[in-house]
């Protein structure tokens, strides 16, 4: 299987133009098996075309994000699988779109009540392998924080995955967990907040694989038993567990979830794209 990388060029700022994710992975190829793809980068090539806008201020996806200091109420998935995310409850719980020191846009969950969830369930029941890559910066190690979680709780649901930043309170680490009927976690310390990174979690239930990579380097792995089965068909959550606890604070540049185990050039290309998106060098 060969991934075709298409890079959208011409990134520039146009006042009033919508902010959109861009992608190197064009999902016309089903072999890619991408389940989610997000990014916060401005795509001037799209221009002001509501049909192509993928970041919206409102939960109905009718008001495009056109600049900074606007809420992110709806985030469209570019994978082609319709795994869109939204903030269904209230405006104050929508992360704010901001611009960093390198002119990169990011969503800024506040670590209090901001979160997004998938509009529908994300069906990973046909696979027992995943690769999750996220470009982000965590801004606090004070309390455990969920960056991404499939299902309302990895600890209480089979076939779940999660990335925490950090895993537990007052600990400068990152953590990736994969679970069939048993949970295995890979955690690595030495990353005190504020820490900007590309996080990669690779999970495979049948081979008891749980790997955590930070900025393209493997920093932790677990071969603990993950039990049996495939991943589940659950809603997924960004920035809070089930939208109710373990709030994440920091910067979110983008996320890609592939429903298979990436390696080699595929993986390094994807990680490099995320590094570029957040200028994480």
């Amino acid at each position: 299987m060969r991934l075709r990388a298409t890079r959208l060029a011409a990134i520039a700022a146009h006042a009033g133009a919508p902010l959109n994710p861009i992608t190197i992975w064009r999902n016309g190829e089903q072999a890619v098996h991408l389940s989610i793809e997000f990014g916060m980068r401005r795509n001037a090539a799209v221009g002001f075309d509501p049909a192509q806008c993928v970041l919206f201020q409102d939960s109905a996806a009718t008001v495009p994000v056109t600049g900074t200091e606007q809420p992110l109420g709806y985030l469209k998935d570019l994978s082609g699988r319709g795994n869109h995310f939204w903030q269904p409850s209230n405006t104050a719980s929508r992360p704010i779109i901001r611009l960093d020191e390198n002119s990169r846009h990011y969503a800024n969950p506040d670590g209090v009540d901001d979160w997004l969830e998938s509009v529908n369930t994300i069906d990973l029941s046909g696979t027992d392998a995943v690769t999750l890559v996220a470009s982000m910066r965590k801004d606090s190690d004070a309390a455990a924080a969920v960056l991404f979680e499939l299902s309302t709780s990895t600890s209480s649901n089979s076939g779940a995955i999660q990335i925490r930043a950090p895993q537990i309170a007052a600990t400068p680490n990152f953590h990736f967990a994969s679970k069939g009927t048993s949970e295995a976690g890979a955690a690595a310390a030495g990353f005190p907040a504020a820490y900007k990174a590309v996080l990669t979690g690779i999970g495979r239930i049948s081979t008891d694989t749980a790997i955590l990579r930070v900025n393209g380097v493997q920093v932790a792995a677990s071969s603990s038993d993950q039990g049996t089965g495939n991943y589940g068909n659950y809603k997924a959550y960004l920035f809070r567990r089930a939208g109710t606890s373990l709030p994440f604070t920091g910067r979110f540049y983008g996320l890609t979830l592939a429903s298979r185990q990436l390696a080699g050039t595929e993986l390094t290309r994807l990680e490099q794209w995320h590094r570029n998106m957040g200028r994480i060098y």
Partner: protein, 112 residues
């Protein structure tokens, strides 16, 4: 169109505040507010609740104008005035508002 507000409400009036926010907000914009608990120690039970983030400018204007809020919500102005006076609504970033009020997020002890 959007303004930032940190809104801290006492636990004793949180149900009233939730109902009021939902009643005066467009669908999908005012529900499930004030679900994050606060206390002076960071331990349960929560004595206050917080919502923080961007809200509509029209919503923020109502919070600054008890008479207008009372009219929109069809609630006596005395009741609205008492409710707002019990709350801490500011443009302060949430961390600053918590420091100023001496409140902390109630910790959740959750399994991995």
């Amino acid at each position: 169109m959007w303004v930032y507000r940190t809104m801290i409400v006492p636990a004793a009036v949180v149900d009233q505040c939730r109902a009021l926010a939902e009643a005066i907000s467009p669908p999908g914009a005012g529900s499930s507010m004030w679900e994050v608990g606060l206390s002076a120690t960071g331990q349960a039970p929560a004595t206050h609740y917080v919502s923080a983030g961007l809200i509509g400018a029209d919503f923020a204007d109502l919070l600054d104008n008890p008479e207008a809020l009372a009219e929109v919500a069809a609630v006596p102005v005395e009741q609205i005035t008492a409710l707002l006076s019990a709350c801490d609504v500011s443009a302060d970033p949430v961390a600053e508002a918590l420091q100023r009020t001496g409140l902390r997020l109630v910790a959740h002890d959750e399994p991995i």
